[in-house]
């Protein structure tokens, strides 16, 4: 089956258009369209990643930087689908689908040569550490994306409540400020822990694999990732210390800034690195 990036990208675009239409017309049929197209997108997305993985002879997380970002997009779209099934609030799709689309767009910029399994004759131990490293970083970044999305939702909800326009032209319902603030906090804690573990796994990977002995602590991706993690940890400490004395809106705004900066840095470095396909190519 010839599944291309365009297949699932187009599905997500249609789902986003239908989700936007729900803001204007609260038709129940539109929800079915949204769920249907997200599900179709996830299905095509999954097939694409499996094919890429099969061609590379490696798990999707390791085959290329492009696939790594596509897996991140896949995680976000699956999360969006599950949340949309559990709760019919349009706000979920409105905030999550654009994130997925942006990640897919970013992955296209990191497109590299077609992977070949012969390049990855990794030892079992190296492979396991590499998967662990990539997976932890991926879920850490997913948590950062979750924090970003919940903060954006918080700001939108706060704006609506302050302007006393709880129900504008639409019947769009959103999560409560308290819930969004709680999610934001959990997302930040998870992101810091997962990224810390991911960085530690990366260090362990360097230690056990002869293939990546060329890895330097001054590698741009390592530097960017470490700096991002330090910034995120500092932000989390400030968040935990500030407690209820700090306005929720300020916390959300700073979360958007910190998470946005971290994502732009990480994805930007990936794009600049050109998405090399060999494991060592991850770290230029």
């Amino acid at each position: 089956m010839n599944v291309t990036v365009f297949c699932f990208f187009a599905s997500y675009v249609v789902a986003f258009a239908a989700e936007s239409a729900r803001l204007v017309r609260g038709w129940a049929a539109l929800r079915v369209v949204v769920l249907g197209f997200i599900a179709a997108g996830v299905f095509a997305h999954t097939l694409f990643l499996l094919r890429q993985s099969s061609e590379a002879g490696l798990p999707p997380l390791l085959s290329s930087a492009q696939d790594w970002i596509l897996v991140l997009a896949w995680v976000m779209s699956v999360a969006g689908l599950v949340l949309a099934l559990l709760d019919d609030r349009p706000a979920i799709g409105i905030f999550l689908i654009p994130t997925v689309l942006l990640l897919i767009g970013a992955s296209l910029l990191t497109a590299g040569p077609t992977p070949s399994s012969t390049e990855y004759e990794l030892t079992l131990a190296t492979k396991r550490w590499a998967i662990l490293h990539a997976a932890l970083i991926l879920f850490g970044i997913a948590a950062v994306l979750g924090g970003l999305a919940s903060s954006l939702m918080y700001l939108a909800q706060h704006r609506r409540l302050k302007s006393k326009r709880l129900t504008p032209a639409s019947d769009m319902a959103m999560f409560s400020l308290e819930q969004l603030a709680r999610w934001n906090r959990y997302a930040m804690i998870s992101a810091v822990i997962l990224l810390a573990l991911g960085l530690a796994a990366g260090a362990a990977l360097g230690a056990v694999s002869e293939r990546v002995t060329a890895l330097s602590w001054f590698d741009p991706l390592v530097l960017a990732g470490s700096a991002g993690w330090v910034g995120l940890t500092g932000f989390l400490l400030w968040l935990l210390r500030s407690g209820s004395d700090m306005s929720g809106r300020i916390i959300a705004t700073r979360t958007v800034l910190v998470c946005g900066l971290l994502l732009v840095t990480i994805v930007g470095v990936q794009v600049l690195a050109g998405g090399r396909v060999s494991l060592s190519g991850w770290h230029s």
Binding site: Q157, L166, T167, S176, D245
Partner: protein
């Protein structure tokens, strides 16, 4: 005979205008009824004042009813508000429009929250007060009794009253739930001990609220409410202390002036930035509107702010509204037919009396000439003449009744009066 209403409501006037024209308690409404009765003694009056409307209903002969300018002057005198400051916000309806308006009000179609149950009680209270003060009469009695029947019919035949409908439930369910995801760990402060305050606390309790503190000027009423909702009563003087710690504040007092000024709130808020949901259900407002901008964590809503949510309810219940309107239209038509028919009553009675008199005179004259006729034949003759008179009267009275179905049969009544020389 006619019915009229001069009013301002949430469609036509802002809360700032309505609260200046509002009659805040039963005593004020009673005094207003007395004042109207003294100023317009030939008409009947009922004054309805709720947080969404101030309305003066009158009934009687058309020329006896106070017009818009006269009611404006009355409101101006009563409240000491210059007419020019609210005259443009006043509306007037007469005849079927006035009746339909009352029925829509009683059925909550004119309310911010469709299907809200309180409005019927408020209309009943207004009518009772007018009755007590001898301001209403047979026409308003019939009109308001019919309004209650229509309201009951709409509630039983449509699902207008189903779901979240009252101001308190919308405020808690829609606004409160957008700020807080749970209420069992929130400190709730209630200012006032009236029905609205109690209803709001009950909705909060349904959402899980446990820590409720009632503050009220009248300790007895405050304690009674606290007991009923499982809360704690505290004197009104402790307001600032409890305001500072509150997560949810519900204020529904009948105070004529704001009880929490911007400065007082800011001082109570101090350096805390925790989220606070303030629900000002008082009319006039209890909280200075500028408090909404004190800081990011304060969310202040008054009755007008509920309007958008109410509009959404209205859209969702559009079909039910249409069904209710059909009922109201039907009942309004019936009521107006009664009124118009009743208006023809004196003319019909005089016409019948006139013809009966002629019949009796003629029968008497005839019988004096037929002395030999048997009693049985006399009775038959009398009956026959009576039937002739009735048959002759039937067509014009039938036409009159038909005419009264579609409007006041003024022309026909006037024609009958002229044709048969019936005096007023």
């Amino acid at each position: 005979m006619d019915v009229g209403v001069v009013y301002c409501n949430h469609h036509s006037a802002d809360l700032s205008v309505r609260e200046r024209l509002a009659f805040n308690d039963r005593d004020q409404i009673g005094r207003a009824c007395e004042s109207l009765r003294d100023s317009f003694p030939a008409a009947e009056h009922v004054v309805l004042s709720t947080c969404n409307r101030v309305e003066v209903y009158s009934a009687g002969e058309q020329h006896d009813l106070p017009g818009q300018d006269e009611v404006a002057a009355f409101l101006s005198d009563f409240h000491g508000v210059p007419v020019r400051e609210f005259a443009d916000e006043l509306l007037e309806a007469r005849g079927p429009d006035a009746v339909r308006h009352l029925f829509e009000v009683a059925c909550s179609l004119d309310s911010m929250v469709l299907g809200e149950p309180q409005i019927v009680a408020q209309v009943k209270q207004a009518y009772d007060e007018a009755l007590t003060r001898a301001a209403c009469g047979p026409l308003t009695n019939t009109l308001f009794q019919m309004a209650f029947r229509v309201s009951a019919r709409v509630r039983s035949e449509t699902s207008l009253a189903e779901g979240r409908v009252s101001i308190a439930s919308v405020a808690v369910g829609e606004f409160g739930r957008s700020i807080f995801s749970r209420f069992d760990d929130k400190r709730v402060v209630v200012i006032g001990a009236g029905e609205m305050a109690e209803e709001t606390v009950r909705y909060l309790a349904d959402e899980g609220a446990k820590d409720v503190t009632v503050l009220n000027r009248n300790a007895e009423r405050g304690k009674a409410l606290a007991d009923r909702v499982g809360g704690t009563y505290r004197p009104f003087s402790a307001l600032e202390t409890y305001l500072a710690a509150a997560d949810v504040v519900v204020s529904a007092t009948g105070s004529a002036e704001p009880i929490v000024s911007y400065e007082r709130f800011k001082k109570a808020r101090d350096c805390s930035r925790h989220q606070m949901f303030v629900l000002d259900l008082g009319s006039p407002r209890d909280f200075d509107p500028r408090i909404a901008a004190v800081d990011d964590g304060v969310f202040l809503y008054d009755i007008d702010d509920l309007k958008s949510t109410c509009d959404r309810n209205r859209r969702r219940r559009h079909r039910e509204v249409e069904r209710a309107r059909v009922i109201i239209e039907d009942e309004s038509r019936k009521f107006m037919q009664q009124i118009y028919h009743r208006a023809t009553g004196p003319v019909v009675a005089r016409l019948r009396a006139q013809w009966d008199e002629i019949r009796r005179d003629e029968v008497k004259l005839l019988m004096s000439r037929l002395e030999t006729t048997s009693p049985r034949d006399r009775a038959a003759i009398e009956k026959s003449i009576e039937r002739i008179v009735n048959k002759l009267l039937h067509p014009p009275l039938e036409v009159l009744r038909d005419e009264a179905r579609s409007g006041p049969p003024t022309t026909l009544v006037s024609a009958l009066q002229r044709l048969f020389k019936i005096s007023d």
